[in-house]
């Protein structure tokens, strides 16, 4: 039986990582709007992903307005690929 990464095997975090794997950079507003989460929920998920080393945070200022953008790290990308391989292994094992 394949092992699944607990950081990724959570529906919202999986969606966040998949979203970030399709783009180079996405800001906080885009993630909140697209995922339909509250800012608080997204913040806590992003903190966990950042602690795991799966996402990189870029903080900047647009004039006086702070902007937080996220990108997937190389580690995050390879972990995501491993996760899907594990899912496929489980699928094939079950068939």
């Amino acid at each position: 039986m394949a092992e699944l990464d607990p950081h990724i095997h959570q529906p919202t975090r999986l969606r966040i990582l998949m979203l970030l794997s399709g783009v180079d950079l996405a800001d906080f507003t885009f993630l909140v709007n697209t995922l339909g989460l509250t800012k608080g929920n997204l913040s806590s998920h992003m903190s966990r992903l950042e602690e795991a080393g799966y996402v990189e945070v870029t903080k900047s200022f647009d004039g006086k307005i702070p902007n937080t953008a996220y990108s997937l790290t190389r580690n995050g990308r390879s972990s995501l690929e491993k996760y899907w391989r594990a899912i496929d292994d489980i699928r094939h094992g079950a068939e």
Partner: protein
């Protein structure tokens, strides 16, 4: 790491499509191109109008009007140079941010900010400008038939637009390749004698602005489709709770 097998099948229910639609959305944010082309069209009309007014006033011996319109024309030309080389990038960046403020920012090329769109190499730019000036100059001097100005321009405009699409706008919208494609088709139709000619000036202006607008609007419409699909696929199964950030 933990072992899980019963929920594995639920995890990839459409989730695998998220990166594809996220990329399609981010690639097709082409509204700034629409804005740029509208600005270019308005500026071109103002240049044309002021030039015509100046020439008309001069020919009809209205010296004061000719001088005044010439001054306005010069001021407008200086403003246009400033916009093109100094302030335009910053203004367009602000406009882009305002246009997409409601949905946030996602990019597949360089991030928004300095260098969001790298300028074409100077040599390519000079070659392009030389071709424009040479063909317009030869046309005005009567060395080129005016009805073939657009087809002749297609020889350098089409490769330039393809180059811009491929190299400069990394991660740009595939729909923007409609622009050179339609420009080339227009040229072929003119050469083969299809009656779509609108006069030497409009034959250049309409394909340049019009086909650019068509391509950019097609990209924008597709980005709306991609965003709707993306939001459906990426909608979190969590019930939103109001918590402080």
């Amino acid at each position: 790491m933990k072992r899980t097998d019963d929920s594995a099948g639920e995890a990839d229910d459409g989730v695998r499509e998220i990166p594809t639609w996220a990329r399609r959305y981010a690639q097709n944010l082409t509204l700034p191109v629409v804005v740029s082309l509208v600005i270019f069209a308005v500026a071109s009309c103002m240049f044309g109008g002021l030039s015509y007014l100046t020439a008309w006033a001069y020919v009809n011996d209205k010296r004061v009007l000719a001088g005044a319109s010439m001054l306005v024309l010069c001021a407008f030309a200086v403003s246009w140079v400033w916009f093109s080389f100094v302030g335009g990038t910053r203004i367009m960046r602000q406009i882009t941010k305002q246009l997409y403020r409601g949905e946030g920012s996602a990019s597949v090329g360089p991030p928004l900010g300095p260098g969001a769109m790298s300028h074409p190499p100077t040599l390519i730019g000079f070659v392009f400008m030389f071709c424009v000036l040479a063909s317009v100059g030869l046309g005005l001097l009567g060395f080129l038939p005016t009805r073939y100005m657009q087809p002749i321009s297609a020889v350098y405009v089409v490769p330039f637009l393809c180059y811009i699409g491929l190299k400069v706008c990394r991660g740009g919208s595939p729909f923007m390749f409609l622009w050179p494609a339609l420009y080339a088709i227009h040229a072929v139709l003119l050469v083969t004698g299809v009656p779509i000619g609108m006069g030497p000036m409009l034959d250049m202006f309409v394909p340049t602005v019009g086909y650019g607008l068509i391509a950019a609007l097609a990209g924008h419409i597709y980005s709306r489709v991609a965003l709707r699909r993306l939001r459906r696929l990426a909608a979190s199964p969590e019930v939103p709770q109001e918590t402080a950030e």
